[in-house]
Every structure is written in structure tokens, then in C-alpha cells.
């Protein structure tokens, strides 16, 4: 299952350098790891591929990142920010 940002959802950096998700009439603050995950959504990568890339970037074991990535994506799908 691959992921991408939902229609009308944009990843952006605020004036103070904070990563944010811009959604219809709203702004969602993101932490660094959430932003790094969302940057990798391209409509082709699945959760494992995203975890693998994050593991390389943050030099962490992919097995540990995998469940975090899934939890975050499930939450964002539920909130309508991400679609599969």
C-alpha cells in the first residue's frame, strides 16, 4: 500500500522554520520526524520503503522506525491528510 498527501494538503515550512501541514482552512504543526516522513510520500512508496529511507537518513534501525511510521501514517489517513 503506497501513500500520498490528500487533495489540497500541502507540506510547507513556516516563516520561523517550523514544518507545517497546510490543509483546507487550517494549519497543523509537525515535529521533525513527521515532516521527514511526509516528505517521502510520493504515491509509490509503502510504509517499509519510507521506513528504510528514514533509517538511512537518521542512522537508525528500520525495524524500530517501521512501527512509528505506520502509526503516524494510520493517524494521518484517519484525519484525512494522507490517502493510500
Amino acid at each position: 500500500m503506497s501513500y500520498r498527501l490528500a487533495r489540497g494538503v500541502r507540506l510547507q515550512t513556516s516563516a520561523d522554520g517550523e514544518p507545517v501541514l497546510l490543509i483546507p482552512e487550517g494549519i497543523v504543526s509537525l515535529n521533525v520526524s513527521a515532516a521527514a516522513t511526509l516528505e517521502l510520500l510520493d504515491g509509490t512508496r509503502d510504509a517499509d520503503a519510507i521506513a528504510q529511507l528514514l533509517a538511512e537518513r537518521f542512522e537508525a534501525p528500520p525495524s524500530e522506525l517501521g512501527s512509528d511510521v505506520r502509526t503516524l501514517l494510520d493517524d494521518f489517513v484517519e484525519r484525512g491528510f494522507v490517502t493510500t
Binding site: R7, G8, R10, Q12, S14, P24, E25, I27, G80
Partner: protein, 373 residues
Amino acid sequence: MTPNPRSLLCELTYRCNLQCPYCYNPLDLGNPRDDLDVDTWLRVLDEAAQLGILQIGFSGGEPTLRRADLLRMVERSTAHGAYTNLITQGTFLDARYLDELLAAGLAHVQISIQAPERESAFAIAGTDVHERKLEALRLVATRDVALTLNCVLHRLNHDALPEVIAFAEREGIRKLELANVQFYGWAYKNRGALIPTREQVERSATIVTAARDRLRGKMEIVYVLPDYFEEFPKPCMHGWAQVALTVTPDGRILPCPAAAAIATLAFPTVRDGSLADAWRDSAAFQAYRGTDWMPDPCRSCDRRERDFGGCRCQAFLLAGDAGATDPACSKSPHHDLVVALRGGGPVPEALPVPRRFTAATPAQHEASSIPSA
């Protein structure tokens, strides 16, 4: 230190070809001759970018009546990296114009309907445009842009709530906003005719809960709670002058779209200074910012940083004092004014008054500049 605002609502004009009696626009719609020119609007958008504003809304009146100007404003906002929302009734959205707006970067379209079918929609809007809206809705749904369907609920259409949800389902809507009428401007004038009954409010809560469960994952339903029926007031605008500002068609800078009603405050205008000046230094923006201004019961209330004393406009309209606790709060000494309006309360007007310009600004303004679609 004052935080910077995060969103700006641009009201491009109060002209509109509909006459909805629940409109929150002010009773005095002014004169469209005083509408800001596009160069001033573009400067306002530049100032918004300097303030770090990321969310821009385009509303009115009907913003698409300023067809070419709106397009330039969307382009400019996008160039600044802002997210753009068009709040429209949809009757002027043809394919060519929509595609121009999308090419300019428009991210989200909100289209309103008055009722789930033509006859009732006509009765409420005073203009027979339901079918035209349906075309616009279907057009936007075919494009790569976020779409919200909005329906303002009030006594005259509350009973059609299940049909509104069914309409949205039929049209494949992903996000439905059911907004109970809020009593400002024309809606405040018409509150006796528009306030839903207690039975309607209770029934709608059950209907919305069931629909949300049934449509989970298919349609998001945003339900704006009915004013005047809750124990505590809404956390209006997340506090006065905390996150958002509005610029009116004639250039007044307001902390919320309804604030022009507060006759005791003098609001800054974009003609006299920048958005930053207004936000940081104007007396009107500082008047009710934070918690220092609060009287009791707000001052000693443990909810003071949750609902911020409620709505200043409502306090002014109902209690005659913008610095009073929102009468919608059960702790307000003026709460009886709200209780009296609920459901079986007095009905000052059987039929609502349609929104319109005053005699001083002839009705032809409403139609004169409407482009042929």
C-alpha cells in the same frame, strides 16, 4: 510578545446575487464603490506574507464577482507560499475560470448550498441558483483541488438535515460542513426566525453522530454546534486578535469577520497603515487580547484560557458591552437573554428579512457588475 497571525480572510466585496437571511455580513453593506482596488489588495497580501501568514481565505459577499482581481490575488498569495481558500456560493464558477484559479495555485474551494433541493434553496436564497451550484460542485469535484460542501443550518432547513447529508453522499463529497447559523449581521437581525428549536437541535446531534459512524473513511462531517444552546461559549477566533484577521471590502482590518458590529471600537484600515501596525499596535486589536481585560465571571473562571470569554461581538450585540462575558455562557449575568431566545422563545419576525443593500446604495449595485457566466 504578541504572536503573529496565521490566517487572513479577504472579503473582496459585499456584492452577491443571493439574499440569504442568515448572512453574517453587516446590515450596512456599505457602497461597492468603496471596495478596495486590486493593487491595494495585492499590497495587503504582501504585508500578510511579511507577517508569516500561511492561510488566506477569499470571501465576501461573493468573491468571484471580482473575477480578474481574485485571480491575481490567488496568484500573489501562491507566490508567497500561502495556502488559498475560496469561499463561494459557486454560481459564477465555470470550467475556464476554475482552471485559471487552479493554475494560479488555488488549493481549496468551499461551495455552499442553502438546502438539498431547488425549491427550498430558492426560498432561502431568494434567487433560483440551486441547479447552477450543483453544476459548479460537480465541476470542482473533477479537478485536483480540495472541496468542501457547506450548508448553514437554521430553523427553515434544519428538518432537511438527513436530505442534506444524502445529497452530499450522492455527489461523492469528501468533506461536508454543517454549520449551525451564528447570529451576526443579517442573521442577528433575523435571529427570531432562524434560531432552531430545541427539538431540531437535539435531533440533529443524533443524525450527525449516526452519519459520521456510517460514513467514516468516506466523508468527513464537520458540525458547528448551535450557538445559544451550549453551557459554555465557543472559543471564538481562539481569542481576540490571537491567530487571525479579516480585511473588509472597504479596507477595515478586523480581528474577526463580525467585529465591525462593535460600535465602541474604531478599527484601523489598510489605507492608513500596514497589517502589522494594526495587529501589533492598534487599540482595537489590543482591547480584548489575552485575559487582562476580563471581568468576572471570566476573570476567575478556570476556562478563561479555553474559551477566552467567548465572543466579543456577541457580548456587544446581546449585552451592549463588548467587554462583558459572552451571554452564551451559562455563568454570564446576561445569560437569560440567550435562554429566552431558545426554541419556544419569542419569535419577533415570522419571516426573515432578505439580505440587501440599503436604499442609499441602490439595488442595481447588486446586479450591475455581475459578469455573464
